[in-house]
């Protein structure tokens, strides 16, 4: 019986393909692939329907489906196209087989439906799996990329280090910030750490709490934290929330914070007078054409 149904489907594959293409084209206009060229769409459709048919012929061989899914994922075809395609295939095949055979009692119909399901289901399962594996892969890569960005520490001078924070801080990232901060303080022998929150969109109690903990830990190591980059709207929300930041020195901009850090570490920036020097020379490029005055230089007092 099973064998029969498969033969019927394969014998009528031309008709199935035709019906299937018609349905899929109808779906196309309403849906996903508006920006894909007609030719490409049709080529892909031919291939797709052949893959399904071959898979049925090959008694559920997975190799051919896998090759197809690899390619289609690489090209970025939407999953909805695949699912629609398979569901339409199931419908069309069932209909075709039923019209081929006149005998149509309910028992027989349900058997046909069951059989077609058995052909189509493993393909759906496999394709959805392949897709979700590829998504998970992308997500995990992005996670790694995000983590690389999450808590950079920049030693700008002896004893002064800056940590610019950009983006949302969640629990995981807060832990990461703390670790990097403490490690960096030890490694760079920092006396002052500037934490810049210009790029943090929301400072709620959780973020504040983590910042407090981090600065307290830094303080235990004998260094000082200065919180910089507090935007006016953030300042207002902090006041509304009723968070007490008085234990933590804060400055509105990184520049002001850096000045304070210089003061704390007994340094100052001195403008060199009457020392006209070419920028290119300073940078070691030495192709001087313009003369630029007033270069500032750093000096320890």
């Amino acid at each position: 019986m099973n064998r029969d149904l498969r033969d019927i489907a394969i014998d009528n594959s031309d008709r199935i393909i035709q019906e299937w293409s018609k349905e899929i084209n109808r779906l196309k206009s309403a849906n996903y692939t508006a920006d894909i060229s007609k030719e490409l769409f049709e080529n892909n459709n031919d291939e797709f329907v052949n893959v399904i048919l071959n898979s049925i012929k090959g008694n559920g061989s997975t190799k051919i489906v896998k090759d197809f899914s690899d390619r289609i994922i690489k090209l970025g075809w939407p999953l909805s196209y695949i699912i629609d395609g398979l569901l339409v295939f199931r419908k069309v095949t069932t209909n075709t087989i039923l019209t081929e055979i006149e005998q149509a009692d309910s028992e027989y119909i349900s058997e046909v439906i069951n059989n077609v399901d058995v052909w189509v289901e493993p393909i759906i399962r496999q394709l959805v799996n392949e897709y979700s594996v590829s998504w998970e892969h992308v997500v995990s890569l992005q996670r790694i990329a995000l983590q690389e960005l999450s808590a950079p520490l920049i030693p700008v001078m002896d004893n002064i280090t800056i940590m610019p924070l950009i983006g949302t801080i969640d629990t995981e990232r807060a832990k990461f910030i703390m670790e990097n901060l403490l490690e960096g303080v030890m490694q760079h022998n920092a006396e002052v750490v500037l934490i810049d929150i210009t790029g943090v969109p929301v400072v709620d109690t959780m973020v504040a709490h983590h910042l407090f903990q981090a600065t307290e830990a830094v303080r235990l190591l004998g260094a000082k934290c200065i919180l910089v980059g507090i935007r006016p709207e953030i300042a207002q929300t902090i006041v509304n929330l009723g968070i007490n930041f008085s234990k933590l020195p804060t400055k509105s901009t990184l520049k002001k914070g850096f000045m304070l850090a210089l003061e704390i570490t007994n340094k100052s920036i001195v403008e060199m007078q009457d020392k006209s020097q070419n920028i290119d020379q300073l940078l070691g490029l030495d192709k001087g054409s313009e003369r630029i005055h007033a270069n500032s230089d750093l000096k320890t007092t």
């Binding site: 929301v202 504040a208 709207e233 953030i234 929300t237 509304n240 929330l241 009723g242």
Partner: protein, 133 residues
């Protein structure tokens, strides 16, 4: 009244989704940057409370209109353990999670209207509104 949308809070990153949606709605309503920050922070607190204490819940947004002005209403609901003493959680500095204890009283100060209902063992519902000035 008005359109309604919601974010389901199930994992920590849903908090970000909730406040992003809230910020967009607030921006479209014509709130200034400071009020946008206030609303976003309030949503963040409410969503985080759901995540921390109830594990799962919903943050809904509604645009409300009265005769003179428009506003955004934020509804945070969960079926978590509920709150035993409502006056206690509205006190500054009270916390059961080792946090700062500024969340709920902070939200009340950040927003214009604030209402909290809670039943132990059943869940908590917080309704809060901010009006465009």
């Amino acid at each position: 009244m008005g359109s309604q949308s919601y974010v389901t809070i199930m994992k920590e990153w849903d908090i970000v989704a909730a406040r992003q949606m809230g910020r967009d709605i607030a921006k479209n309503l014509g709130f200034g940057t400071v009020d946008q920050a206030r609303i976003t922070t309030a949503i963040s607190e409410l969503a985080r409370n759901i995540h921390l204490y109830a594990g799962e819940g919903k943050v809904c947004f509604e645009i409300v209109e009265s005769l003179e002005h428009k506003g955004i209403r934020v509804l945070a609901t969960d079926n978590g353990p509920g709150i035993r003493d409502l006056s206690q959680v509205m006190e500054d500095g009270f916390t059961t999670s080792g946090g700062l204890g500024a969340g709920l009283p902070g939200v009340k100060r950040l927003m214009d209207d604030f209402d909290i209902e809670s039943e132990v063992g059943k869940g908590t519902k917080i309704t809060t509104t901010k009006w465009v000035r």
